[in-house]
């Protein structure tokens, strides 16, 4: 009989994100959960990944445990191969050297456009105000492939974002190039706490690719603000491995401040 694993939805999101990283490639890493995804991936699967932080840390190998809330501290920029500043960091992405970008989001729409600025109301009179772009707009504009990491809540997937902070495919195929954004760039995967989405090569629409083992794809999409197309063969994603969970809980975030979330279970 299969063993049952218990984990939080956040732990699953981080673990499946870490498995997507490609070794020997460059990753422009956004603030928050993407940092943890990159650290876990680098420790377990992709030792030769080159991380880039927007304030100019090139190729850091973070010291654990992760210091929550910070990005520019010595733990997080440890053993970089170069220390620069903001204008040079964005030069790396703008000149085509960043293979992947990884960003969190408040809302995502069917074309992978990201809102991280406000919810409800208008820009002048927002309902709730959040941190906004930071360097997210640059990451999503410049990197060849952008990975979005977002908690799987129906209200976060909306037909139209309240504020378009960081560009996905804008209004559809060809729209990025028409706007003047670098050719051949755009969102690549959306990693959630239940599922994995990609973008259809022709329509550029967010498409369900895989769900956590044991979940029904219909249940996964039913609360979303729009119905995404489904891939022909929806794959199943294994739950976090013992090693992923051990690293997250014992080494990366022993205070369990960042990895807390709703408890889930799945068969290993």
């Amino acid at each position: 009989m299969a063993r049952t694993v218990e984990f939080t939805d956040t732990e699953f999101m981080i673990a499946q994100g870490a498995r997507l990283l490609e070794d020997g490639k460059t990753f422009f890493v956004g603030w928050g959960i993407p940092q943890i995804v990159a650290i876990l991936g680098q420790r377990l699967y992709v030792p030769d990944v080159i991380q880039l932080f927007e304030f100019g840390a090139v190729g850091p190998q973070s010291v654990l445990p992760f210091v929550r809330g910070t990005m520019g501290g010595p733990q997080n920029t440890y053993r970089s191969i170069q220390w620069l500043n903001m204008n040079w960091a964005f030069a790396y992405s703008a000149s085509g050297y960043m293979d992947y970008g990884m960003l969190g989001a408040l809302q995502v729409d069917p074309y992978g456009n990201i809102n991280s600025t406000f919810l409800g109301g208008t820009y002048r009179n927002p309902g709730r105000r959040f941190a906004g772009s930071g360097g997210g707009n640059q990451v999503a504009s410049h990197c060849w492939k952008t990975i979005i990491v977002i908690r799987h809540e129906g209200r976060r997937f909306v037909p139209k974002v309240d504020f378009l902070t960081s560009p996905g495919y804008l209004t559809g195929p060809g729209a990025r190039e028409k706007a003047g954004l670098p050719a051949g760039t755009g969102p690549y995967r959306v990693v959630t706490s239940k599922a994995l989405f990609g973008f259809d090569g022709e329509t550029k629409l967010l498409t369900l690719l895989a769900v956590l083992r044991g979940l029904d794809p219909e249940d996964v999409v039913k609360d979303m603000g729009f119905r995404p197309p489904m891939s022909k063969d929806i794959e199943e994603i294994p739950p976090p491995t013992p090693e992923e969970l051990r690293l997250l809980r014992e080494e990366i975030d022993p205070s369990r401040f960042l990895i807390r979330g709703e408890w889930m279970s799945a068969s290993a």
Partner: protein
């Protein structure tokens, strides 16, 4: 103060010729001692209505002692160019000092988000890349610089960035106007009395901000012999002739970390993160700013020698910071 308005959007702008004239006439090239107390630096170089920019954040190497001094002197109607604005904007807004913020990244905690929603502070959305580029344009003496981001996003209507046809290809490209702040605050590891300064580790736009701003106030953990800079020029971040005042401020980044010098004071940062309402804000400001005469008294009475030596001890990563 030069403010331009386009519809809803106002932005700070100064033609490069006006800034160049200021640099020619008002910025002394003489190596003169500029060491002075924070009180004097702020009262001399920061006026009501000024545009202020600073390097890094309240968690890492931010000029926190200078920001507390601005609050203590109750400056009004400041406009902040905030690449990372973690607790700085919340404190400056809560103290009634700031009325406009160009962001950046508007972190942390509920207070500042609430202030934006209530309209107590106006926020313009340039993004981190956009703000860094505006300062680079200012430093390079050009009225604007082009970039291939911002395009297609709602930042085009929440800032004064524009789309133009690239004169070489005809394709659309975004442009952002040069920024010339009134004052730049930089907290550094080492400075000499003339203003030569060294930052160890990464920075946001320390040199760009120093070159593009009218006045530059350096606060330094350590004051070193000017000869040190001549011996090792690769390590100079800012040369003295950009600088107007030097403040000796050990623990000047507190409660944030100074890489390789002292660690972040997480419990204090959690107090800042927990500020949700006006009462909590005013209590914090009273306790940590208004009720102490200056940074030295703050360290002595509110932080304490024991805490400082503990934070120094925790800063065990020194590799690379020299």
């Amino acid at each position: 103060m030069n403010i331009r308005r386009e519809g809803d959007i106002e932005y700070r702008f100064e033609h490069p010729d006006d800034f160049r004239r200021f640099v020619q006439e008002q910025k002394s090239r003489k190596a003169e001692p500029k060491l002075c107390p924070a009180k004097e630096a702020v009262s001399t170089f920061v006026a009501d209505g000024d545009y202020i920019v600073y390097d890094f954040s309240s968690l890492t190497r931010g000029p926190q002692s200078l920001i507390r001094e601005v609050i203590r002197q109750r400056r009004k109607d400041l406009w902040i160019g905030a690449e990372f604005t973690l607790h700085e904007s919340a404190l400056l807004t809560g103290a009634g000092c700031a009325t406009r913020i160009d962001v950046g990244f508007l972190g942390y905690g509920g207070y500042i988000g609430q202030a934006v929603c209530e309209g107590r502070v106006r926020v313009y959305e340039w993004t981190n890349g956009g703000l860094a580029l505006r300062l680079l344009a200012g430093a390079r003496g050009v009225p604007f610089l082009p970039t291939r981001d911002l395009l297609g996003s709602d930042h085009m209507s929440a800032s004064a960035a524009k789309v133009i046809g690239d004169p070489y290809t005809g394709l659309p490209v975004a442009v952002v106007p040069a920024l010339h702040p009134d004052v730049a605050f930089l907290h550094v590891h080492q400075a000499d009395v003339y203003g030569d300064a060294r930052i160890f580790g990464t920075n946001l736009f320390a040199l760009e901000a120093a070159m593009a701003s009218h006045r530059v106030i350096i606060s330094a953990e350590e004051i070193v012999d000017p000869e040190e800079f001549r011996k090792d020029p690769m390590r100079t971040t800012i040369p003295y002739f950009l600088v107007d005042a030097v403040v000796h401020a050990p623990f000047g980044a507190y409660p944030g970390a100074m890489p390789a010098r002292y660690e972040l004071d997480l419990p204090h940062v959690d107090i800042l993160n927990g500020i949700r309402n006006e009462e909590q804000m005013q209590t914090y400001l009273h306790e940590n700013v208004y009720s102490v005469a200056d940074h030295e008294e703050f360290l002595d009475k509110r932080v304490g020698a024991r805490k400082m030596s503990e934070l120094r001890r925790k800063a065990s990563i020194v590799e690379g910071y020299r």
